[in-house]
């Protein structure tokens, strides 16, 4: 019996994205994947089509098709000029028609390629390491099933099962990759970027806990044996993972278990050897759901209720025009041009509106004369700092705190130029959030914020003579502290700064005061 020398994990991914359309894929019933209906009580988002009542007919939702086109194009794929709807036949109580309308051999989007950056130790993109090229096989539309509950709501034993058909018929986008991944980290980063991209494109709410994005990795291993041969283990598909942790766990578990299974049973990849497993989150293991002997014959055939869909150039181009710069490209730009840490850049691309707000702030700063790289950095500090903190307190998003982007740029510029101190900046920021100004070009916003700062008396006073006098006074009055500073206790200078600020009535810039004090003491801080 040969033994395993090394093992390479090979992973392909299927992703289901629940599209945030107002209505379901083939009916006018509201979709639970839309924000407005997310809290609907069980079995209230129904109509004859969803219930599969006799005589009811499906009608395609164009909004879902456009969302799917957006994602397909964002992944570098082609939109098929003609696409078709097929029936996938199988019995299940949560699928009222006993068939699912899906796309079999003529999917909406074909092909594609994503350059997935390497992941750093914390799972954020590392743009300096080599990227993984992940080929996309296809992206197609289908309808979701309902939910079958075998436990009483809230847990506990229940006689029989209960069925909630709210989700039945919701628009679902399935994306399939080639088996181009070699590690759980790569898969997880791709998954995160895909979710961010879909959220950025506005095609899904992307709430993982609600199953808006579900992952199904296909995993097997290439084993190198001590006799020089290589063998491939049978493919395992792990169903319905709805957290990144589960994706990572399931892949790592299979990567460990498959070589062991091979040593037990010697089974290798081949037709009919694929098995389906589930993921036990509590025990962090996969478990068998369906062996090859239970393989379904879905009897796909073209759905006679739905004509094939033709997508002409005009329609495709209209949708493509909505793409804009993709989030991963923006992330790369923030990191390379503004030197943002990838963690911050990632946070900025997660929500489209926040990202666009950030870019508007940065543009405002540039319009006010700030260098591009610096503007990106300053804007990020504002959006992920003060705005995020305030948003967090209010259960909102950073772009929703009230202040207009050009106004924020003006505020940032005044602070950057030392015209405001910390305290004045905070006062002004709160004021501009509570009583937002009109949206205005950055130069007008600057004038307005300056005026308001003047009114509030928070502008830094730049009186060099007075400053010199206060510095002298304070140094004379605190010889002991001055000694400490000279002796190397640089931090002690803070007390002196406070004394000067007191004399200045709070209207001096602390940074400038500190510099003046250190200069007078005769210490030059490395800048």
């Amino acid at each position: 019996m040969p033994t395993v020398v090394s093992s390479t994990t090979i992973i392909g991914l299927e992703v289901h994205v629940e599209l945030a359309t107002r209505r379901k894929m083939f009916s006018a019933a509201p979709s639970p994947a839309h924000r407005e209906f997310a809290e609907a009580p069980p079995n209230t988002l129904l109509d004859p089509v969803v219930l599969g009542l006799p005589g009811a007919l499906p009608v395609m939702n164009r909004a879902a098709v456009e969302m799917a086109m957006l994602v397909g194009l964002a992944l570098g794929g082609k939109v098929a000029p003609v696409t078709r709807w097929d029936r996938k036949n199988y019995f299940y109580p949560d699928m009222p028609k006993a068939y699912q309308i899906s796309q079999y051999d003529q999917p909406l989007c074909v092909g594609g390629l994503v350059e997935v950056p390497a992941a750093d130790a914390k799972g954020f993109p590392d743009l300096d390491a080599p990227a993984t090229r992940v080929r996309i096989v296809r992206a197609h539309l289908e309808e979701d099933a309902g939910k079958l509950l075998h436990e009483a709501p809230g847990g506990g034993v229940m006689e029989g099962s209960i069925l909630d058909l709210n989700r039945a018929g919701a628009a679902l986008l399935e994306i399939v990759t080639e088996p181009d991944f070699r590690s759980a980290e790569q898969v997880v980063l791709f998954a995160k970027l895909l979710r961010a991209t879909c959220r950025f494109l506005g095609v899904t709410e992307g709430v993982m806990q609600q199953g808006h994005v579900r992952f199904e990795p296909n995993i097997n291993c290439e084993l190198t044996l001590d006799d020089g041969r290589t063998v491939r283990t049978p493919i395992v598909e792990v169903k319905n993972l709805n957290s990144f942790k589960a994706v990572r766990g399931a892949i790592e578990h299979e990567a460990r278990e498959q070589p062991r299974r091979w040593m037990d049973d010697g089974r290798v990849m081949g037709p009919g050897t694929k098995t389906t497993r589930g993921w036990d989150d509590a025990r962090a293991v996969t478990f068998i759901q369906r062996g090859k002997e239970d393989a379904h014959d879905y009897r796909y055939f073209p759905d006679p209720d739905l004509p094939p869909l033709t997508i002409d150039d005009a329609w495709r181009e209209k949708v493509a025009a909505r793409l804009g710069e993709l989030p991963l490209d923006r992330l790369r730009r923030y990191v390379t041009r503004s030197g943002l840490p990838t963690k911050e850049a990632f946070a900025l691309i997660e929500e489209r509106d926040t990202c666009l707000f950030y870019e508007a702030v940065a543009a405002g700063l540039i319009a006010l004369g700030m260098e591009e790289g610096r503007a990106g950095k300053v804007a990020a500090n504002w959006v992920l700092g003060a705005c995020a903190a305030r948003a967090n307190e209010r259960g909102a998003q950073p772009h929703e705190v009230g202040i207009k982007p050009t106004t924020l740029a003006a505020l940032g510029k005044l602070r950057e130029d030392g015209r405001l101190n910390n305290q004045g900046t905070e006062t002004l920021f709160a004021r501009l959030c509570d009583a937002p100004t009109q949206a205005a070009p950055a130069t007008d916003a600057l004038a307005a914020v300056e005026h308001l700062a003047g009114e509030l008396g928070v502008l830094v006073v730049r009186d060099d003579a007075a400053m010199a006098a206060w510095v002298r006074e304070v140094l004379d009055a605190n010889p002991k502290v001055v000694e400490d500073v000279r002796g190397g206790k640089a931090a002690a200078v803070g007390r002196l700064v406070g004394e000067v600020m007191k004399r200045a009535g709070g209207k001096a810039d602390a940074k400038a005061v500190r510099e003046a004090l250190l200069a007078a003491i005769g210490i030059r801080e490395p800048s």
Binding site: G55, M60, N89, P93, P96, D297, Y300, F301
Partner: protein, 492 residues
Amino acid sequence: MTESARVIAADVTARRRSAVEIARATLAAIDTRNPTLNAFVETFSERTLAAAEIIDRRIAAGESLPLAGVPVALKDNLCLGPDLSTPGDGLGFGGRTTCASRILEHYRSPYTATAVQRLIDAGAVIVGKTNLDEFGMGSSTERSIFGPTRNPHDPTRVAGGSSGGSAAAVAAGLVPLALGSDTGGSIRQPASHCGVVGLKPTYGRVSRFGLVAYASSLDQIGPLAANVADAALALDVLVAHDPLDATSSTRVAPRWGTELNSPAAPRRVGIPRQARGPGVHPGVAATLERALERFRAVGAAIVEIDLPLTDHAIAAYYIIATAEASSNLARFDGVRYGRRAALAEGESLLDLYCRSRGEGFGDEVKRRILLGTHVLSAGYYDAYYATAQKVRRRVHDDYARAFMDCGVILSPAAPAPAFRLGEKTADPLAMYLEDVFTVGVNLAGLPAAVVPAGVVQAGGASLPVGVQLIAPAFEETRLLAAAATLEQALAA
């Protein structure tokens, strides 16, 4: 003699008669005749009268309704909801929609089919639901949980099917107008056997929303009437684009009902070589020749055409229709609605499906589900379903080629007059051959009409025989003109 829908609508509109008195007479006639015929499976006495009363009020208020007070029967595979009888009245028929199947024996639809709603909105008074072969699968209206419908011309014979109840109801003079559905000839063959006009519109002309699907790519709702003009009037009301049916056509419909006063005779009538084949009953053949003669007499040229795939069409039809049916009928699993079988202790979900379906479906339905499941199975799809779709394409092309030579095609509707009850129930293949002249039209999606064209003596009975006219897709205008021409020529 069946009264004309146009005469009734005109009388009600002019208030010479009330919708209520017509409805009352209709219900009384059904009570008298239906025990023999078994054409109706349900009538809505009080609710029908209440709906008729509302029509009278709307007429009194000056409304103009093309089908004012016209009693209409619906094949029982058309959904009729609880509170949609007439706009704004809140009254409900709330009848069952059974498809003559045990599995939907007690099923009540919460909504109304688009085609039915259009009739109601036009002033029609729904009097009841008519018998059919279970889910439309049959050619004799014998395979029904309600028992067979009998032919008004000879109660020992079938009415044809699957819209046999609707055809018999019109033929017996119980209603002037009824809706049927036609998947492979289910309007036309019973129309021929009962001696009424049956019209199968172009696929996509009439919304299928609310028609319980048998074979979705072939099903089409159409009227059965006592004469061509009434069928045309009904078509005017039925045809409109329906956003609830993705296969519903957006083409603007002409006003057929008003264009038939002096129909233009077709210039060239095609007769398929296959229509004169050996399998055709001599009485049917003679009727066909007489109809040709009448066309010739009004100046039409008769040209022989070739529909070489006539025999293959029936094989293709039974593959495509059963494939679609196997999928369409999968939803009847006893879980959400319909009949659920009682389970014994320890039986599983699979048992629930198997028992509910085993008890709920009749033999012919089971046969077609099995056949359809088989032809879609892995390894058989290409040999059966894919091949049948190729045949379908060629059938379509054959008709297109034929219509380069002629304006309309004339053919038998069925190979023989109505057969005796029970004569073909043991022989499914013989029953399937009833559709040999009609299924090609469904495969090609064409409009076709059956017009009563003669009476044949058979087994001591005088039986009506119709002929079928076929036109290119969306050429109902041409079809109805040819049908009206023939109707007039035969009456002269």
